[in-house]
Each structure stands twice: as C-alpha cells, then as structure tokens.
C-alpha cells in the first residue's frame, strides 16, 4: 500500500516538474486613459513576442506608437473566447479609435461589441468581413504568385509547387501562380505536392528532389518553416534550378538558385490603416485586402542580374494589369 502511494506521488511529482519545465508564462499591459490622443489597442492571440504571427501585430503596434505618436496597449487573450468581447469593450469604452483583433477568431466578438461603439474601428486579421465598423484585413498572395508564374513560364521548362497544408491562403497562392503561368503558356507543366505539415523540412526537401527528377526547374514552396527544405534541395542540386523566397529574403539559403523574393509586410499594412484612421480619411468601403497596389506591403524583388529585361517588362505589365484590376489572379482554373 505504502509503495503504491509512493508510486502515485512520484508519478504526479515527476510529471508536474516536467510540465513546469515545459511551460512558459505570459503577461499583459494596460496604460492610463488619456482623452484626446490617438489610441490603438491590440488583442493578441498569444504571447506578443512569440515570433511569427503574433509578433507581426505587436511590432506593427510599436511602429504605430513611434511613427504616429499613438498611445498603444495590448492584451494577450490566449484562446479564451469569453475574454474577447470584454477586451474589445474595454478598449472601445476607453475611447480607443482603433482596435485590432489579430485573428479570424476575434470576428464574432467584434461584431457583438461594435454596435455599441460606432466611433471605434474594429479591424480583424485574416477576415473578409465588412459590417459597419468591423473590417476584415487580409493579404492576397495570389497576386505576387501570379508574377512568379509569369517569370517561371518565360524562363523555365516546368514548375513545382510545394504546399504545407491545403488551405485557402495556400491554394489561392497556387491558383495565382497557375494563372500567371497560363497567361504566358497554357501548356506549361505545373505539379503540386502538399506535405501535410508546416514543420517537416526533410519531407519538403524530398518533395523538391522528386519534382527535379520529374523535370521541374522552378520550384516554389509555400509551407512556412518546412519550405526551407526546398531551398536546400535546390542548393544541393546546383545552378539552373530556381525558386523565390516567400514572405522574406531567403537568398542566403540558396544563393545560386534564388531568382527573387516575395515580401509581405503585413505589419506595414496595419500601420497604413492606423495612419488613415488617425488622419480621419479612412474611406475604404469594403474589407481590406493588401495586394500589389499596396507597394510598401506586398512586392516582389528580383535578385540582381538573374532576370532578363524582356521578362522584367512582362512582369511589370502584369503587375500594372493586376493593380488596375484588369487581371483577376484568382480566376478559376479549369
């Protein structure tokens, strides 16, 4: 009996110690109320210094404070919907002109609260909603991928796309790429592989090797951290195989294979929105979708000396067409 209790105790103690080791901690911050100043609040779905998604919004918030002289505040609400509504209401009732819910999950809570606070803009990341002062904010990767497709079709033999998981942000990007390719060459081969993972760089690398063996010479990942595996495969295979950096500059990972980089500075887009709200000239009637028209938010930059002038001209034509809404990068593919 005694040994059984000891066994139970040690099991609990042991796992508790391990869990304590594994766990982290987080905290929020609130600043004093001060009427008359421009105030921006953020509902972060996780620790603001958590890298990646949550950090993007936090850094945008700091930029809003620095560049626009705004008074800022954030709360880390984690995944507890009960707190969403209260956090929105807290900010709005303190006269915050702009509150950002950084994630689609905040949409419903914002809709409930927004009716009572017509003077506050509620922005919701990853949402396409527009109901009064609740405004979805998203970025459209299909436009940048369209330009990559134009480059691939003009310079390559076949293209491969390595996706993380088959979800709309990824499939839309790939539709954009395919439309770009088709605008140049309707018979240009494109193959697509999904990894079912955002972390499995080894699988991404092998997927790229498979595509190279199938004859592809343009291989583009859209698989978060796993995507680096694609660059490594190209780096090992050698020159003559091309890729684009996705969301950031990845040239250093495959210096001989990177033809350009697609940058997506969502945080800058948020700063732009805050500026409009502050200056009182926010006049967008729909939801907000960042695209190539927002030149400081989404842009493609070629690595010097890799893209011939005539290809660059075709890309520029396509870019203008997209900005002027003459090209629909998301038109359905047969």
């Amino acid at each position: 009996m005694k040994s059984k209790i000891w066994q139970l105790t040690s099991t609990l103690l042991g796992s508790f110690l391990l869990l304590v080791l594994a766990g982290g901690c987080s905290g929020g911050s609130e600043k004093e109320i001060n009427a008359g100043v421009f105030k921006v609040g953020l509902l972060s779905p996780g620790p603001v210094n958590g890298q990646g998604w949550t950090q993007i919004a936090y850094e945008a918030l700091l930029k809003i404070e620095k560049e626009l002289g705004a008074q800022i505040s954030y709360v880390e609400v984690e995944q507890s919907p009960a707190l969403f509504e209260r956090a929105f209401r807290d900010y709005a009732s303190q006269g915050y002109q702009m509150v950002l819910g950084h994630g689609f999950e905040f949409q419903d809570a914002a809709l409930t609260v927004a009716k009572d606070f017509p003077n506050t803009y509620f922005f919701i990341s990853s949402s396409k909603i527009r109901e009064g002062n609740v405004i979805g904010v998203d970025s459209d990767s299909s436009e940048a991928f369209y330009l990559m497709g134009v480059v691939a079709a003009l310079m390559g033999k076949a293209a491969g796309l390595v996706g993380g998981v088959e979800i709309p942000p990824i499939t839309n990007a790939f539709i954009g790429f395919t439309n770009g390719v088709r605008s140049i060459d309707p018979d240009f081969p494109i193959s697509t592989t999904y990894l079912g993972s955002w972390t499995d760089a080894a699988a991404a690398k092998e997927a790229a090797f498979s595509m190279i063996a199938e004859g592809a010479d343009f291989i583009i990942p859209d698989a978060d951290a796993a995507g680096s595996g694609v660059y490594q495969a190209l780096n090992e295979t050698g020159p003559g195989y091309w890729s684009f950096g996705i969301y950031n500059d990845y040239t250093s990972q495959a210096p001989n294979n990177m033809i350009g980089n697609y940058f997506n500075d969502y945080g800058q887009g948020l700063v732009n929105l805050a500026r409009m709200v502050k200056d009182g000239n926010f006049d967008i009637q729909t939801n907000v979708e960042f695209g190539l028209k927002d030149e400081d938010v989404i842009w493609v930059k070629f690595v010097e000396g890799r893209v011939p002038v005539d290809v660059q001209e075709s890309v520029e034509t396509a870019r203008q067409g997209i900005i002027d809404s003459k090209i629909n990068t998301l038109s359905p593919i047969r």
């Binding site: 796992s15 080791l21 594994a22 193959s191 592989t193 972390t199």
Partner: protein, 312 residues
C-alpha cells in the same frame, strides 16, 4: 512509362526511401532495447527534438557536425537518465512521464531556439552538415549507384548500427539479461542481476539513439532547425517497433518500408496529371505499412513485463 523511365523513377524513390527511413531506424532500434527491457518510452518525439536542437546548436557554433552529433547523444543520455530515474527508480507511470517528456521536448527546444537563434539565421550562415558522400566507382554504377552510394554518413551508418544492436541483443550476456528483464524481471532478480541497472542501461540506449535520429534531421538530411521539425516521427517510431516485432532487423525493415511508401507518395504527388486528393497519398505510407504487416503476420507477443515497474 518506358522501361528506362521506370528504372530512373524507382532509383530516385529508393534513394529517398533510405534517407527518409534513417531517423526511424535509429529511433526505433533504441526503443527496441528499451521495450525489450520492459520500459515503454512514448517520449521519443521529445527526445528526438532535444537531440535535433542540440545537434543543430552545437554544429552552428562549432562548425562541426561530428561535435553536434556527440552533443546530441549526450543530451539524449541526459533525457534517458531523467526518464529512467522517474520510471525505474521511482516507479512512476511510464506513459505519464513519456507524455511529459514530449511536452518538455517541444517547449524547451522552441524556447531555446527562439532565445538563441531569433533573428540570427538570415545573417551569418556558416553551417556545415553531413553532406552526401559519393563513394568512388560504386556511385557510378547505374541504378544502384544512386540508391546506395550517394548518401550521407549517417545513412550509411544505419545497417552497421542495426547489426551491432542485433549482435548485442541476441549474442551477448547483456542482451540476454535485457530480454529476460522485459519478459520476467523476477527471474533476473533471483539470478543475482540488478533489474534497475539493466533497465537504466536500456533506457539510456533508447534515448541516446532517439537523439541520434533527431540529430539526423538537422545535421544530415536538412541543415536547419525549426520548431517541431521532427513532425511526429517519434510516434511513428513507436509503431515501427511494434510492427517490427521488437527486433532490430524487424525495425530496420519496417522503417525502410515506411520510408519507401513515403517517398513513393511524394513522388506520385509530383507526377502532374494525377487528380487524386493529396490526403490519400498522405495516408498511403501508414495504410500500406499496416497492410504489409497484416499480410505477413506471425506470432509475436510484446515483452511480458512491458510497461510494468519492477519492485523487488
């Protein structure tokens, strides 16, 4: 497909097979020892992650993947010591401690990766990994050259390590005591051997090899670390041990089988023109490995005392 195309298709798939199987081979071989001694360690995923991170960090700072690998083994042994202390010395529930180890592995490596490497990857990248080593003459043999003789050192090491493991388990006194401990620890105890020491040793072997399996991902197969890079391989290795019937060569064969189906599904997805949902391809390695297992079914029972703490 023309015959020549089929040959090159197969060669590429089989070469990828061995590369993809390697982390499973190391990890499941280690778990064979652990389970043969009666200790079920479901914390392999966590240990692999810790090994993967340690190897990456040490290689990053020293420029030597050999040192990175050595450090990974050390980190695996440390995990093993902790696991054995809780489950063998304190008789804690192996499943609970294993589950906690997985959480620690993910949490600790993510935390350390962010605090050490955040914002640092873009700038200096003088990272050396075990790159493919082409063996002279042999690598130019058609078909077999690509599959067998253009791999990296850790891939080449797998059959040697499995041979060694099999020898130790079946041909040495230590191996006999490991197997007996898993079947009937009381007998081992009455023969004057210390059950706890044998279990400690087996758990250390298990965690050490799991760390090697994780390290392979960051210093051989790819040259990067990212959070959760093991992507569930530790859990697949657990299944590999069962399907491989708790034997080193069985684990080796099942790892290769899984690697083959995984390579095949990646390749089939890349063949343009096939319009089967990709989820089907992704389920394929799991389904087909199970099918083969069922088709080849022979009598094989798990070690008698698996998961049962021993109290003298």
């Amino acid at each position: 497909m023309e015959p020549l195309a089929i040959v090159s298709f197969l060669a590429a798939v089989l070469a990828a097979t061995w590369r993809l199987a390697t982390p499973f081979i190391f990890t499941s071989l280690g778990e064979v020892f652990s389970e043969r001694a009666g200790v079920l360690n479901i914390g392999l995923e966590g240990v692999m992650l810790i090994g993967a991170f340690t190897a990456f960090a040490i290689t990053f700072f020293t420029g030597s993947p050999v040192l990175g690998l050595a450090a990974a083994i050390t980190s695996g042994l440390a995990c093993g010591l902790l696991f054995a202390f809780l489950t063998v010395s304190l008789s804690a529930n192996q499943i609970v401690v294993g589950a906690a180890l997985n959480l620690v592995g993910l949490g600790l490596t993510s935390f350390l990766y962010r605090s050490i490497f955040s914002g640092r990857m873009e700038t200096a990248r003088e990272y050396v990994s075990f790159s493919p080593l082409e063996i002279p003459f042999l690598s130019s043999i058609r078909f077999f050259g690509d599959i067998l003789f253009k791999q990296n050192l850790m891939v080449y090491a797998t059959p040697i390590v499995v041979l060694l493991g099999s020898f130790i388990l079946y041909r040495t006194a230590f191996g006999l005591s490991v197997r007996s401990t898993g079947e009937h620890p009381r007998t081992v105890d009455s023969a004057g051997l210390r059950v706890s020491m044998i279990r400690y040793a087996s758990v250390l072997i298990g965690c050490g090899l799991a760390a090697v399996g994780g390290a392979y991902l960051t210093v051989a197969h790819t040259n990067q670390f990212n959070e959760g890079i093991t992507s569930g391989r530790g859990f697949i290795a657990l299944a590999v041990v069962v399907i491989g019937r708790w034997s080193p060569w069985g684990a080796f064969a099942v790892s290769l089988l899984f690697g083959f189906f995984y390579a095949l599904q990646l390749r089939l997805q890349a063949v343009s023109g096939i319009t089967i949902p990709y989820q089907f391809f992704q389920a394929m390695p799991y389904l087909l490995t199970l099918v083969v297992f069922v088709a080849m079914r022979r009598r094989a029972a798990p070690p008698g005392a698996l998961g049962v703490p021993y109290k003298s």
